[in-house]
Symmetry: C2
Subunit: 205 residues, 2 copies
Amino acid sequence: MASEISEITEEDPTSDRPSARARLLAAANELFYQEGVNTVGIDRVIERAGVAKATLYSAYGSKEGLIRAYLAVRHDARRHHLTEAVARHDTPREQLLDIFDSLGESISKPTYHGCAFVNATVEARPDSPIFEATDEYRAWMRALFVDLATAAGAADPDELACHLNLLYDGAGIAARLDRAQTAATAARAAAAVLIDAATAGPGTP
Amino acid sequence: MASEISEITEEDPTSDRPSARARLLAAANELFYQEGVNTVGIDRVIERAGVAKATLYSAYGSKEGLIRAYLAVRHDARRHHLTEAVARHDTPREQLLDIFDSLGESISKPTYHGCAFVNATVEARPDSPIFEATDEYRAWMRALFVDLATAAGAADPDELACHLNLLYDGAGIAARLDRAQTAATAARAAAAVLIDAATAGPGTP
């Protein structure tokens, strides 16, 4: 067990091989996302990562700790992806709509398997640390919608942000459950109607 | 084992006690919905139902067969609930909006735990019979939206139905993941904007 811990805490800077911790996270990211956090047992994750079971516990404490780390990876990836998408445009309206284009890019990938946070959370207990990771992601996502809705001049930015978030989540469900490749395009079209209605001031035609 | 099978196939019409099959389904409905189809093992279901394991297999074939039967129960309940909701109103617009009111009623219950079909399907394999049950439910739901969108005079009923379905699914996710009690009210407000935009003919103010 001592050697397992040293594998994590004492990285060899001259080695090209990813650390045990990184290999565990990569294996978790692949298996948990493709097959589900409940369906995939830790034995498969440690086998895929090529580490001993004790390494998982010393690195992440528990399976839930590893799930939380996996969700943090997904959160970072989505934040990076959406920040890039938003930066492509000048107007808040286009930036809001590009959130749906960005979702469409994800959905179109053969590896798309729905929203990692939805998938991981629907069977989580209320006191599970999985909810903490999901809350953090969803608060960040909502804040992005609110900031852009405010910049777009929405009469009620919180309300518009809420409505757009419903469409975004709904598109993820349609893509996962109905295998609807066009779900994000449909959500984008509905979002455009809602943005225009929310940003048209009184008297605007 | 013979006695287990007879317990299912030879009901005693003079008995008030629910059949083993009915008790299994009731236990599955409660446990699968509250805790998840992956998290809950069949041992807990048969213990709750008070039947032998062989009874489950003779009645439903497998755990997946029981999950499918559980989803059929949820489908019937939702169909009954929504059919009643729609019948309360005369205009297609109000009928469409009452679908969201009906969802709000479900969300407000302390036992609400999200959409049973989403919860059961996100970790299902593509060839799982769980997808069949989910496809049937979602096709029925979509047809309801299309019929009412057509009756409401939408320029493109399929598109409006798709958009309203996104909001409906999104509200279920917000209620489950964010514990957002007002998710259905928000979805209803967004739905009203989309309905009005889709049913306003050219030149209509």
